[in-house]
């Protein structure tokens, strides 16, 4: 029989296998990053109907988080403020600014300002803000350096695995209760954070649930 296959085809199966393996590994690696919230959510920075600048209001003007996000200490949601909250100042300050036109027309007509939701947990997840901020978890831990954001972006992946990391080791994120709303506070070093954190965990009976019913109801 004549040689149907040229010599170079001798190496083809091996090359194919190696290629498959490489491709497979690359796909796996790509998926575990690009298909996870670490990539798909982090950095999401939609345009809001009103270009509200957190760095101005929080850093420069010194307004506490809770002035607008009023229900965070008692309720599951931290509540985007109503138009009335904006108008408490903006009936006096910047009364004619075109940037606030939508706020003023919302106040006049009664139509809500259609804020774009950035941090969204799936419908079957029930996250409760109040228990977290009352347990020494700061806004910073989950939402990043909001007080320096001119336009808010999604800072942390907020995937279930990310939540569980903290739930399993809460000492890494727990801070003194009076520093919860201080976005600039940091522990002196990671080891100090851990030590202090462990102290708080013990003192405050912090026992974050890792069973499914805690969030999936």
């Amino acid at each position: 029989m004549a040689n149907i296959f040229p010599t170079w085809t001798k190496w083809l199966p091996l090359k194919l296998v190696i290629a498959m393996l490489c491709l497979g590994t690359m796909t796996a690696v790509a998926v575990t990053y690009y298909f996870t919230p670490k990539y798909t959510r982090v950095g999401y920075q939609p345009i809001q109907p009103v270009s509200f600048d957190h760095s101005l209001h929080v850093n420069q003007l010194g307004i506490d988080c809770r002035y607008c996000h009023q229900s965070v200490e008692v309720s599951g949601t931290s509540s985007v403020p109503s138009t009335q909250t904006c108008m408490t100042c903006h009936t006096q300050i910047k009364k004619q600014s075109p940037k606030l036109e939508i706020v003023r027309s919302s106040w006049a007509t009664g139509e809500s300002i259609p804020w774009v939701k950035i941090h969204k947990a799936p419908d079957y997840v029930y996250f409760n803000h109040a228990i977290h901020v009352n347990s020494g978890v700061s806004c910073y831990s989950c939402h990043g350096q909001i007080n320096q954001m001119e336009v808010v972006w999604h800072d942390q992946p907020q995937s279930m695995g990310w939540c569980l990391e903290c739930h399993r080791h809460p000492e890494g994120n727990v801070r003194p209760k009076d520093q919860v709303y201080n976005m600039d506070w940091r522990a002196e070093s990671p080891s100090v954070q851990r030590k202090e954190g462990q102290k708080f965990v013990k003192e405050w009976n912090i026992n974050p649930p890792v069973n499914c019913a805690a969030c999936h109801r």
């Binding site: 950095g43 999401y44 985007v80 009664g110 939701k117 972006w153 912090i206 109801r217």
Partner: protein, 1104 residues
Amino acid sequence: MKRIVEHPPETGAAKAYWRSVEDFSHTEQFQGWLKTEFPQGAAEFWGDGVSRRSFLRLMGASMALAGLGLSACRRPEAHILPFTKTPEWQIPGKTLNYATSLPRRNGGAPLLITSYSGRPIKIEGNPLHEACKGKSDSLAQASILNLYDPDRSNRFLKNGKNISSADAIKALAEWKKSWQANQGKGLAILSEDNLSPTEDRLQAEFSAKYPAAVRAVYEPATTGFAQAAIETAYGKGSIIRYNYEKAKVILSLDADFLTGDEATLASVRGFADGRRMENADSPMNRLYAIESRYTNTGAAADHRQRLPASHIAAVAAKLAELVGAKSLPIFQALPELQMDPKWIIEAAKDLMSAEGRALVVAGSNQPASVHLAVAAINEALKAQGITFEIYKRPRPTSLSIVELADVIKSGQITDLVILGCNPVYNAPADLNWTELQKSVNTVIRLGAYEDETAALSTWHLPQAHYLETWGDSVLQDGSHGCMQPLILPLYDGLSSSQFLAYLLDAPAGVDKVWVDGPELVQETFKTKVAAFATTYAFDNAWSLFVRDGFLKDSKPRAQASPFVFAGASMIAETRIASPQALSKDNLEVVFITDTKVDDGRYVNNGWLQELPDGITKLTWDNAALMSAKTADELGIYSGVHVKGIVAGLTDAGIYFSDVITLTVDGRSLDIPFLIVPGHPDYTLTLPLGYGHEKTGRVGQGVGFNAYKLRTSQAPAILTNATVIKTSAPRYKFAITQEHWSMEGRDIVREAPIAYYKENPGFVRALGIESHTPENITFYKSPPFDYEKYHQWGMSIDLTTCIGCNACVIACQSENNIAIVGKDQVAKGRELSWIRIDRYFSGSQRDIEMGKGVIPSDPEMILQPVTCLHCENAPCETVCPVNATVHNEEGLNVMVYNRCIGTRYCANNCPYKVRRFNWFDYNQRQLDQLYWGPLGPKKVEETIKLSKNPNVSVRMRGVMEKCTFCVQRIETAKIDHKILTKRTERKIPTDSLQVACQQACPADAIVFGDLSDPNSRVTKLKSRELDYSLLDYLNTRPRLTYLARVRNPNMRMPGAELVGMSLVNARIHHHAETEGHGEEGAAHGDTKAHGHEAEAKPAEHGSKH
């Protein structure tokens, strides 16, 4: 790898943004801003001629701007829409509670409504009111779905055509003018009886202002017999109020005071309190029931006698003679008794020995003479002031519908206003109301649904739901209850009071037609409370009234009322005639209000339609109920059963029945029949309220209209009925539980009280685990930390559970459980998480079933079953994706998003408490489920409002089950931790109630923390009556039961067999232990060992 990526938004959002900017883009401000923001030739871009598309294109090119431009596919944009003006008191994410009351014909139910984000989502009883103490019933729980019913009337109609509310109001204004001009001549108002003091006041004012007008009140379910008798006996305006908790002995003559017309929340509570046993020495009340159908009262009774309704009068007469109530002429010439006289003699003796703590009640179906006799009996028993009391409450007089019909026939009425009611559907058949209504010139109807009456009305106005309006009501104990709105009327509806106020020119406020504030109620309130010295005093009292939901101390005081037999006109009626002999050619027909749809008002309520009837477990239908013997003799059924299932009528688990034609007094009705063990012979029970020709989508065409046979002469009991079988195809029933037998397993354990006292540990001696070796297993039980965590558990007391179904609806309301429709229920796919199992039991039943005959007079036991949250859950080990896991607090947790729908867990569950979503019941239409993705997909907006936001709404393909209301548990834990600033780890003792527990009017369900030694549930589980279902499987459930204890009177005939069914079986088994060798193998063989015939004391020797 973190980079701040400025993802551009979806095009839609960009458009929306710019559209709003466009609105004011021509202002100078904006132009100025544009110049500073976009210096490079902004003016060129923005002019009158530029198109949006080119603008966006140009903008997109500029990277200096944050992401303004055309977008690629990114994540779908969601929006947050906060309030503009923050409403007072509302905290986003938290609920508020408001008190109100549900108006009802026998007394309003005090309620506390949970409101989320400005809309009511859950109904509970008002814990401040002593009549209900926070409990409610199935109808109250389900009434919230009527608020969100998408088929509710939402428009104004003229001659069936949609008109604007403005036009309707204009027309109304003109009529008002003409009515006022001629003082209401030719005007008639027909309304329902809401027991509302405000409405009564307005009716009275109406009669004063329009003296020529005619007023009538019609409640189809109220026969009026009981009230007529009480007023004859005690004087006009007398109302009777019962204190069941004080009664040691109760005899019910066809009165279903636990779940029927005669039931109030207080009656259930009182009875259950008298029944509950704290320990073996607790006193327990005794209930005798003589009834014309199987009811929950009969199921709870210690001694039950089935008797056709027309024969019960003779019992009343005999009883009256025995207790010495001889003063009434009705007892001259005693009618013939159709039952064993010894039964009544011993019962009477028992009643008399109770020294005033006895009570006899008669059903609303019984004629006035029986009620009069019963009143006399209660007086002779010296029960007034103890188990019943009389108070006075005068009501305004009005015509009955019969009298109104006469007036209309005489041609005097040109304008008929119908407030509520549905007379075309439920008026007595002999009035021929349809023709009457058509003969009136103008008919104006205020109705909740566009139903039969609306179809024949000139004008139709939408009626507001009780959760949408202000009002008040007379509560079940006579106190003054407040009704406040939880939400603005969804469809611009109005209430009867508002309509009447409009006719009375009550000031409504600027730009308003109807008085929509509390002014009307405040007016009435002022008359209720003694003169208010200052406005401050009134405001205070009013605020408390609205906050509490009722006026404190407004319960009318009982007055010692002498029994006066002064009604001479009653004499003719009060001679109790000898009962007719009934036979298959002379049948009796009894009309009852259905326990689910009431008199028909809830027919469009999906939850109630799908709720299995307490006794028959029938859903989505009504049927003519009869006994097996009757059906046999009528030739429509042969009366045989196989293994506790009616043979010949079930086919692959689906129940079919033949349709019969029931003819009485020349009127006929085609209706399928249903055999109920324990139903008296030769009598048929017809539940009313079904068979609407015109109603919403849920109720349309459901059931059969028994009102067609009901006349004003005989609204309750008819005789001389005949039945023939039709050749119509067999009718399919959706019955959730066809079988009656526990088949040898000790699922419900019971014993009579004497046996319990002798053998306090009898519960352990029953059951397979009593004669199997102890559960010794290789595997360690899962360890639970009782120190660190709560350990949730539940105990259900079968002695007090009456099977009223309040828990089933409460669970459905709390947990967003969908309804599946009749076809799916027929396939066994009902979705309710808690079910009430009912078994027929009793030694007589066992004998009959051993012969293959449907039991004729069995006892009944009821058992609510929900997920038992087994510590060794068989469902958890078999889930391939770990969607059901156990948490450290003992809950068996269901994770919907992980479930892939293998259904292995439901397969493995020995208690069959898991429910699978075979279809997307929320979004797909229930009659087009099998079209799958090709079928219509829609959720009505108002149904979305009714969902509890704290519970996931499940989609197709996901398993669900009772979660012990984990959302309530977590909320309670979080709230407590925050409240105590994290110093306390556990919630206070008994501070949490789950939905079923909160609704149960008998307080039979107790939930709590087992790690807390002071909690009620821990104490209940330590009692010797406590047992688990199917204990030998070693599932170690957290839900356990307290065995049922019955309290028979040993002198009654048949008393030694009451409650002894399972005990006899145990004795029977133990007596054979020697012979167990070869027969041991027959343990599983039902036929040979006679497991169905659990006790055959007489035949014992012959069989073996």
